[in-house]
């Protein structure tokens, strides 16, 4: 399911852009439920480091994923509060922590390229292609792969 629409230029997909660790990412808009400021995050002891915690968003319990940790990036040092993008997976709500939210871009599908071979492997794992924009690269984030969070190995072994 992606919000592709027919236009004069062919198939077009819409993306919500977000910056994580200085890199521009595009999230397919069809997967994005909302964007919110994470408040009153409850840390979950013993969870993997990629899970920032849980919070209450309008009565739903949302599991918040730290995208910097997920991408193997260091914690933000500028002290700015992160934003969160709300996504759903199989009826469960998740929030992806990002540094800053950008704009909505309509990009033609034909402009999307395969992951370049020199793409940072930490990003390549979750990338569903790239778009060359003016002066920068937008990595299309594959939400399903981002949420393929496995329990930490220690927990599996136990």
């Amino acid at each position: 399911m992606s919000s592709k629409s027919q236009s004069s230029e062919g198939l077009v997909a819409e993306y919500v852009t977000a910056v994580i660790g200085g890199q521009l990412f595009g999230l397919p808009i069809s997967r994005v439920q909302d964007v919110f400021m994470p408040e009153r995050l409850t840390r979950v002891p013993l969870s993997s480091g990629e899970i920032a915690g849980v919070l209450n968003l309008r009565g739903r319990i949302v599991t918040v994923v730290d995208m910097r940790a997920r991408l193997g990036l260091p914690k933000a040092e500028d002290g700015k509060l992160p934003m969160a993008v709300g996504v759903d997976l199989r009826g469960e709500s998740y929030g992806l922590l990002i540094d800053t939210i950008g704009e909505v871009l309509r990009l033609p599908d034909e402009g999307r390229e395969e992951n370049p071979v020199n793409l940072d492997p930490r990003m390549a794992k979750f990338a569903g292609g790239v778009h060359r924009l003016d002066g920068q690269l937008m990595v299309v984030l594959d939400i399903d792969r981002v949420l393929e969070l496995l329990p930490p190995k220690t927990a599996l072994a136990a």
Binding site: V44, V54, I61, L156
Partner: protein, 326 residues
């Protein structure tokens, strides 16, 4: 709880508090599992403390102390209380002439103790008593404290709903009879559960060397209506059995130092006064060989330590069989 967090045994779920924050709910079974095999060593200190207490005839009970109706403090064994809640006064509704509150997608009747008036503003503290399907709220004025005390009722109650008076934290405190209030919410609270108050006279001797398990299982048994005496080892259990105090059933751990559960059962079987005593094993080691060994030692039932419903079912079966046979 999120599928991404389910691998953590320590939590049974999460919930949203009244102020909107999310909290994780601790699962005592998960913690017990995590302590598991190495538990006995780390419990030694706790056990020492516990055996120290056990020397005194009475045992400590966690009590919830509150105020309702009068200035005198009242108390109820904490093990019987499911949750403490503060409900916004404007959420309390009157339906069919009774106070109710919508609680976890159900209508929960509120029962007032004599002299307690329901708050009209602010928040109303209540003690929630629940079983699998239903909940009732006992309206109180103020929740004061949770204390560990020897529950020794010295003066029997005159009033309905009061078991009697006990000294708690140096103050004469009325211990309430929860059994009086539950049927005020649902008349068939006890009959429906096939748990008549008379069954409360069944008494259980619980033998376990781990303070952690004693503390985990004793409240479960008490909540199911049994009188519980705990012993920290088989020898102490035997002295209790031979002290003249009568027990309906013995629940014992298997892995214990000095005399293990199998040996304990064999000693009980060999004692002519005790040979008919039903004995239930609770063990973290469940293997066909262990169960067979248990049968030979004379156990009537063999239950996994974490299987609390299984233990209650086994207890019910054993005590009811005795009652029929008698």
């Amino acid at each position: 709880m999120s599928t991404k967090l389910r691998h953590i045994d320590m939590f049974s779920g999460n919930t949203i508090l009244g102020d909107g924050a999310v909290i994780m709910i601790i699962d005592p079974n998960g913690i017990a599992k995590a302590l598991g095999a190495s538990g006995s060593a780390s419990h030694e200190i706790a056990d020492e403390n516990a055996s120290h207490h056990a020397h005194s005839a009475e045992q400590l009970t966690s009590l919830l102390v509150f105020r309702a109706g009068t200035d005198q403090p009242k108390a109820v064994p904490l093990a019987l209380v499911t949750r403490l809640e503060e409900i916004a006064a404007d959420k309390i509704e009157i339906s069919n002439g009774r106070y109710m509150v919508q609680y976890r997608d159900q209508l929960m009747p509120l029962v007032q103790m004599e002299g307690v008036s329901i708050q009209t503003s602010g928040s109303q503290p209540i003690l929630v008593f629940a079983d699998e399907r239903r909940a009732m709220g006992l309206v109180v004025d103020e929740i004061i404290d949770i204390v560990e005390e020897r529950l020794n009722i010295e003066v029997a109650g005159q009033q309905e709903g009061i078991l009697g008076s006990a000294v708690i934290k140096g103050q004469a405190t009325e211990v309430i009879d929860v059994g009086h209030f539950l049927p005020m919410a649902f008349a068939d609270w006890f009959t429906r559960k096939e748990m008549t108050p008379s069954q409360a006279s069944q008494s259980v001797l619980l033998v376990d060397d781990s303070a952690f398990f004693r503390n985990m299982l004793a409240p479960v048994l008490k909540a199911a209506g049994y009188k519980v005496r705990v012993a920290t080892n088989a020898q102490e259990g035997l002295s209790a059995l031979r002290s003249g105090q009568s027990f309906n059933v013995v629940v014992t751990d298997i892995e214990m130092p000095d005399m293990n559960g199998f040996e304990f059962a064999e000693v009980i079987r060999a004692d002519q006064n005790l040979s008919q005593m039903p004995i239930i094993a609770v063990s973290s080691l469940i293997s066909p060989a262990a169960v067979e060994r248990g049968r030979q030692a004379g156990f009537h039932d063999y239950v996994a330590k974490f299987d609390r419903p299984g233990l209650i079912a086994a207890l019910k079966e054993q005590t009811e069989e005795r009652a029929r046979a008698a």
